[in-house]
């Protein structure tokens, strides 16, 4: 495989990690949603590039699903939800942005230290891609635990999903990638946004998870 092709693939994967960091420091809902749209766009470019260099046309389907559903439809829906609920206000993180970013850097270092020695035999492409993908997954987990708001947790989860798609397409010739990405995107997106947020809205006039905790019957 020629060097330029590899470099471009790494550029996109590295870009995805960078956008994951950008998700961590957003302090307004609309900014968060726009950054997520960027995240999805980068992942779709990355998948399309993989489809091109691996000569695997079915991956273009995954790329276009990522572009259509996650970079266009879901962000638009989220914007409508945010306007409808009147929650453009500042996101309240559980810990400070600074600490979150530091923890994020630590997680990326961890991902690279774990993956690079192990995947020495797996080929250059898969190798760096997996390290980047694990970083994106860990950063998404970090975002899910460091935010209280239901919408930001959903976005954190969808960024994890993008990381997994990056890993799956990086593993050359993996079967069922398209099916997996379809199952993941459509089910999760529809169910989460369609059902949960509207139900939560109906009952509490808010989507802040912390208010839910007050209704718990019993501490575990």
């Amino acid at each position: 495989m020629d060097q330029i092709a590899l470099d471009v693939a790494h550029l996109f994967a590295g870009g995805l990690v960078l956008v994951s960091f950008m998700l961590l420091y957003q302090d307004r809902m609309s900014g968060l949603v726009n950054t997520f749209a960027l995240h999805a766009m980068v992942v779709s470019l990355s998948v399309a590039w993989q489809a091109y260099i691996q000569e695997a046309p079915h991956l273009y389907i995954t790329a276009s699903i990522a572009l259509l559903v996650k970079a266009i439809v879901i962000p638009m829906a989220l914007h409508r939800i945010i306007v409808g609920l009147g929650i453009h206000r500042t996101i309240e993180p559980v810990v400070g942005i600074g600490q979150t970013m530091l923890a994020g850097i630590g997680l990326v270092a961890l991902a690279i230290m774990v993956m690079l020695p192990i995947t020495a035999e797996a080929g250059t492409l898969a190798r760096e891609d997996l390290a980047f993908a694990l970083s994106v997954v860990l950063l998404g987990l970090l975002m899910m635990i460091s935010r209280r708001n239901a919408v930001s947790q959903v976005i954190g989860f969808m960024s994890i999903e993008n990381g997994l798609i990056l890993a799956a397409t990086g593993a050359k010739g993996m079967p069922l990638v398209v099916e997996i990405s379809v199952a993941f995107s459509i089910l999760v997106a529809l169910i989460v946004i369609g059902v949960f947020l509207f139900r939560i809205r109906e009952r509490f006039e808010t989507v802040d998870i912390h208010e839910l905790h007050e209704h718990r019957g019993e501490q575990p």
Partner: protein
């Protein structure tokens, strides 16, 4: 290999899928409950024929000696739960907790859940199995939140978040397994097929396998409810409809454990890879100890039995982690008996919560006086789940503790103590629930005792006399797990 077997395998998947669509369309609530029972019974009947006639494994589906046990158990409990669900749901409609629209949704989701679980058990492909487990998880999330009370929504949300994180970790592990395999098996479907993976596991890169197993154990372990990944489980059991608690405890936890077992087999087939046993033993033991202590402070009856499920999944994981013919045999049997017992208990608890209109244990007293049939069935169920003779779970727990004692005495002592602690908590609670003067509100129960009686009779029979044919069958399956 004859062609009939493959028709039955297809039927096990197609019947739930078609009835899910039908039940979503039919408006009448009387017929839908019956259709639900009929569909689950037909699925069970088709699954039972797989014992006799087994089709050749294909690229996507496989029936082998291990999963046939899980499938038959799963479809059987699915059938009895649908019988229970019929009488439970009728009461919920009368009291107005569920509307007919939600009922349609509920039945359609029930069949979708059955489809997801059967597909996960039958799949010969790690990716397909992952998709099926995700489908099953998402349907249960929707069912847990079906009452739309704040507590139910919180439980569903928590389950959704933790469950999807687990599912995401499991997918990462699955991708790593593919990477480990594709150097040997080449690109394409073979490198994700079980049959091929197990045969060639010795040639895989051990470092990649190790890393993948850590992700898979944590990912699917979240779905099994292993401590410290269990936080979703008590809430999801307590707030959803009781038939769903029964299916969750009795079946979905098993399906997730089945996935862990499959990957454990791959790990064991590679001599250079990390031994999976110690990891499973420690997670299992931690779950048993933690859950048995947590049993004491519970106030909600469904929440208490949810913790008891964590305890038992811990015991089973521990047994499979110890390995060896005896521990595997006991673990497998314990899993089957736990499914039967725990779902029977949830059937009783569902009716109790309906007649008493509460789930708080402080407000439920003297059941054997006010509702003798319900009270005594619950008592029998609790005796079984606590591991007292003559019920079957006594035998399996005894086997697990004794075989551990001969190999790692310290672990056996910890396990034995934790089991005693759990026994104390359960009997203490049972005393309050079943005996004494009845008080609080109480309505006559219109319970169907067929499922409860059937399950408890099977568990009792297993404790008193196991047919030799069944014993040798379980022993044979246990030997495959080594």
């Amino acid at each position: 290999m004859s062609g009939h077997g493959s028709y039955f395998v297809a039927a096990v998947l197609i019947i739930p899928a078609v009835s899910a669509a039908l039940l979503a369309l039919l408006p009448d609530d009387r017929t839908t409950a019956r259709l639900n029972v009929l569909a689950t019974f037909a699925t069970f009947a088709c699954a039972a024929t797989l014992f006799v006639e087994r089709p050749a494994s294909g690229r996507y589906l496989i029936v082998d000696d291990l999963n046939v046990v899980f499938i038959v158990l799963s479809t059987f409990v699915g059938f009895t739960t649908s019988v229970f669900s019929g009488s439970y749901i009728a009461h919920e409609l009368e009291t107005g907790r569920l509307t007919p629209t939600y009922l349609r949704f509920y039945h359609a989701m029930y069949q979708t859940l059955m489809f997801g679980m059967n597909l996960a058990l039958l799949s010969n492909n790690v990716g397909l199995m992952w998709v099926a487990i995700e489908l099953a998880t998402l349907t249960t999330v929707l069912m847990v939140g079906i009452y739309r009370t704040p507590a139910a929504l919180e439980a569903a949300w928590k389950y959704f978040l933790l469950g999807s994180v687990g599912i995401a970790l499991a997918l990462f592990g699955t991708i790593l397994v593919y990477l480990a395999a594709h150097a040997t098996l080449g690109e394409g479907l073979d490198a994700m097929a079980w049959s091929a993976l197990v045969e060639n596991a010795a040639a895989f890169d051990p470092a990649l396998l190790n890393l993948s197993f850590v992700f898979l154990l944590l990912g699917y372990g979240t779905k099994v409810g292993l401590v410290p990944l269990h936080a979703w489980l008590p809430d999801a059991h307590a707030e959803g409809p009781t038939p769903i608690s029964a299916v969750l405890s009795g079946l979905l936890l098993n399906v997730a454990l089945f996935a862990v077992l499959r990957f454990k087999t791959i790990m064991s087939a590679n001599p250079a890879a990390l031994a999976p046993g110690p990891l499973m033993v420690s997670l299992g033991l931690l779950s048993v100890v933690f859950a048995s202590l947590m049993l004491y402070r519970r106030q909600d009856i469904k929440r208490m039995f949810a913790y008891s499920s964590i305890e038992h999944m811990g015991i089973i994981t521990f047994a499979f982690g110890m390995g060896g013919p005896l521990a595997n045999f006991a673990g497998l049997l314990h899993m089957a008996l736990h499914s039967l017992t725990k779902s029977a208990i949830f059937f009783c608890v569902g009716h109790i919560a309906q007649v008493k209109r509460t789930q708080r244990m402080a407000e439920i007293r003297g059941l054997t006086v006010s509702h003798p049939a319900l009270g005594w069935s619950l008592g029998l169920g609790v005796v079984a789940i606590a591991g007292l003779p003559p019920m079957g779970l006594f035998m399996t727990e005894f086997l697990i503790v004794t075989t551990t004692f001969s190999r790692a005495p310290v672990l056996a002592i910890i396990l034995g103590l934790a089991l005693l602690v759990a026994l104390g908590a359960l009997l203490l609670r049972l005393n309050g629930l079943a005996f004494g003067d009845p008080d609080g509100r109480s309505e006559p129960s219109k319970a169907s005792f067929l499922p409860v009686g059937l399950h408890l009779a099977l568990v009792l029979a297993a404790g008193v006399w196991l047919p030799p044919a069944l014993v040798s069958w379980f022993q044979y399956v246990a030997s495959l797990l080594n």
